[in-house]
């Protein structure tokens, strides 16, 4: 295969990766931006989203598209509900204390993972893609569904951007992020906003998982990779910076795709991790994070 087609395939793979990663990383970033806490269980919300998507498509007979569309609504909703409950029952009780939250979410990670293991089982299960459209380039074939993932993720990101910057809900979130006490003075129920944002972060991870489930198999250990990649993206982009997270997701996703193909996936991971280390040393606030004065 010549360099051109090689690069085309690498870019397509990178874009798919970046698309899903941006949804997942945006969730992590949103939670950090508003709550100022790190959610270590973020990858598990991604995994639960995929498990719910598989279950919905498995239970619903008929065309796989129906199962997929229902899953696109049901999975984020249920995952959001779980996250909201977790916030009210656990994180609120520890006052969203940053250190305690890390420990609490590590606990949540194991509880969620082991619960899924008990309920869903240890097997990797395949979810049927909503359609089997296949593109035949002269040099290689490519799944049409994978291409549609890029478009769907872009549409979802636009929706998130609209909610955050053009709606009252977004305004309340941004106000809480900027100054929690001032927001409270203006009558914003900060506790509820925290719960909602934590749920929204998990819902974004679940949305990414629903898109990804028909491409990869659903497995109870699948949460680790998105967690790691989301962290890499959020640290490079700047903790709490949505613009930074999106750009970093694109850069990391694309570079991961291209380096993986030209060299090796292990090298791609090494370079991403090295980038994190360099950012932490030379620009600890991230590429787009605000420098603390």
């Amino acid at each position: 295969m010549g360099l051109g087609p090689f690069l085309l395939l690498a870019s397509l793979e990178g874009l798919v990766q970046a698309a899903v990663l941006s949804l997942s990383a945006l969730g992590l970033c949103l939670v950090f931006g508003v709550l100022r806490v790190v959610n270590v269980a973020h990858g598990e919300f991604h995994m639960v989203g995929a498990v719910i998507a598989w279950s919905v498509s498995h239970v619903l007979f008929g065309h796989p598209l129906l199962g997929f569309l229902v899953a696109l609504f049901v999975a984020p909703l249920l995952v959001g509900l779980i996250a909201f409950t977790a916030d009210r029952v656990i994180l609120r009780k520890i006052n969203h204390n940053p250190e305690a939250t890390i420990v609490a979410t590590i606990g949540m990670l194991y509880v969620i993972q082991q619960s899924v293991l008990i309920g869903f089982g240890p097997d990797a299960r395949a979810m049927e893609p909503p359609f089997y459209f296949h593109i035949n380039f002269p040099w290689f074939g490519y799944s049409g569904y994978k291409l549609s993932v890029i478009l769907m993720a872009a549409a979802l990101l636009l929706m998130v951007w609209h909610v955050l910057s053009r709606t009252r809900l977004g305004l309340i979130m941004r106000a809480t992020q900027l100054d929690r006490e001032m927001a409270q003075v203006f009558g914003i129920p900060v506790g509820w906003v925290y719960g909602l944002v934590f749920a929204a972060g998990a819902m974004l991870a679940a949305l990414g998982a629903v898109l990804m489930a028909p491409i990869r198999q659903v497995h109870y250990l699948m949460g680790l990779d998105p967690l790691l990649m989301s962290f890499i993206v959020v640290i490079i982009g700047g903790l709490g910076s949505i613009r930074g997270a999106l750009l970093a997701a694109l850069v990391i996703g694309m570079s991961d795709g291209i380096i993986s193909m030209f060299f090796s996936p292990t090298l791609a991971k090494m370079i991403s991790t090295l980038l994190v280390a360099l950012v932490l040393i030379f620009k600890p606030e991230g590429l787009f994070g605000l420098r603390k004065s």
Partner: protein, 434 residues
């Protein structure tokens, strides 16, 4: 309520400590109570077989079937009077398909459960991680793993693989057929750990002996979930794509391979059934496999010349003629591997009966008895076929099958002989001290 880690008074702490000590005491009593009642030491003590099982982790789909087969075999052995007149008890511990946990499980068998032997491990990194501990604890360890690590001499005298042929032998027996019928320019895709390295090392030698050549080797981590990025490395002049993969992503791997080739000309494909073990061939997007070939140790789909032993084995372990569970046609078995659990248990029984095994003090006699075995005839206890056993390298050698995919089923097109897979032994465990 707020987060108050430092509000506990000294009195509270003492109370908590007392509770903790009480709980620990109860746990200790529960753990050692059988020993206290003298039950363990009685002469009617069952023969305890510790099964190291991949119940979770990347080997779980194999683990599910290894457990079913082991339970069915133990049930049958007990119905027929047990071993040396004593019942067999299966003690199962999950190793999470993790080498470190595997070694801990071996330790648990030896010190806590006090099993007579350890048995049943599949994934080669778990075998390699657990074997040194089994040797140190002098616990006979019968694996069902396929890897060349036992026969290579790199483990120790306490590790045996008497129920399933190793990869080196499988490859050696099939390479001539591949070179003659499919092609001589090969690209290999294999899992990047011990088992895959056996394929890498020995297939390249075996195909070179047939005048063939491996053009490219593409290692894939067994935990990988996305595979398209590996396929562009397949050279255009490849005649045969040799694939073997394990782990949770195998179905994705095969599907993405089909997507990558699309409708273009593609090389001929020869795969190890591992790439689709426990996966239904009738799964959408696997249609491109039509006409490709797979290695099978034991044909998943019952063939027209099915033996009565195969029939009996399927019945006992709950598998239908298509290799699926009789209770759920979507639950596909690990048919080319799990027979090893059945056969190995009967070999443990045979060896224990040969040396009149009565308890852990006879473990060394059991090792020598197992080493003295020379082969097993095709029978109900050895349904996969006759085997030669080499006591020096603790490894058996059996027949292999090459099957073609026809209408989403596998049809055997070639069966090797035992002699095809024999190689010059490189080790002699019997020279090691017991």
């Amino acid at each position: 309520m707020s987060y108050t880690p430092d509000k506990m008074t000294d009195k509270d702490k003492r109370k908590s400590l007392r509770k903790l000590a009480g709980a620990a005491g109860i746990a200790m009593t529960a753990q050692f109570s059988p020993a206290l009642t003298g039950h363990v030491l009685g002469s009617d003590r069952p023969i305890k077989v510790g099964m190291q099982l991949h119940r979770t982790g990347i080997g779980a789909s194999y683990g599910r079937w290894y457990e079913r087969v082991a339970v069915a075999t133990v049930k049958l052995i007990n119905e027929e009077g047990g071993i040396n007149g004593r019942p067999v008890e299966l003690v199962i511990e999950d190793d999470g398909t993790d080498p470190r946990r595997g070694a801990e499980v071996i330790e648990k068998f030896a010190t806590q459960h006090k099993t007579d032997v350890a048995y049943g491990t599949l994934f080669s990194h778990v075998v390699i991680g657990s074997s040194p501990r089994a040797g140190e604890l002098k616990l006979p360890y019968y694996v069902v793993s396929e890897g060349y690590h036992v026969a290579s001499g790199s483990l120790n005298r306490y590790v045996f693989q008497p129920g399933i042929t190793d990869v080196r032998s499988q490859i050696a027996s099939m390479a001539p057929w591949i070179a003659t019928n499919l092609g001589k320019k090969i690209t290999m895709i294999f899992p990047d750990y011990a088992f895959g390295h056996d394929h890498r090392n020995y297939f390249s030698i075996a195909i070179a002996e047939q005048g063939g050549k491996v053009l490219e080797m593409i290692p894939v981590p067994p935990t990988e979930s996305s595979f398209t990025r590996y396929f562009p490395r397949i050279p255009r002049e490849t005649e045969v794509l040799y694939h073997v993969l394990v782990g949770p992503g195998v179905l994705t791997f095969v599907k993405e391979m089909g997507q990558f080739f699309g409708t273009r000309d593609r090389p001929r494909i020869f795969g190890y059934i591992d790439s689709l073990e426990a996966v239904d061939f009738a799964t959408p997007q696997l249609e491109f496999l039509q006409g490709t070939h797979f290695w099978e140790a034991f044909p998943r789909y019952a063939q027209p010349d099915q033996t009565r032993h195969d029939q009996y084995f399927r019945h006992q372990v709950g598998v239908d003629q298509n290799g699926a569970s009789v209770s759920d046609s979507r639950d596909i078995s690990a048919y080319s591997h799990m027979f090893g659990c059945w056969e190995t248990l009967f070999i443990i029984k045979q060896a224990m009966e040969t040396c009149g095994y009565s308890g852990p003090e006879d473990r060394q006699a059991l090792i020598e008895a197992t080493e003295s075995l020379t082969g097993f005839a095709e029978s109900r206890n050895h349904p996969q076929g006759s085997k030669v056993f080499n006591g020096k390298i603790h490894q058996c050698f059996g027949i292999q099958h090459i099957s073609r995919v026809e209408d989403s089923r596998l049809k055997v097109v070639h069966t090797t002989s035992i002699e095809d897979g024999l190689y010059e032994p490189e080790a002699d465990y019997t020279q090691m001290a017991l």
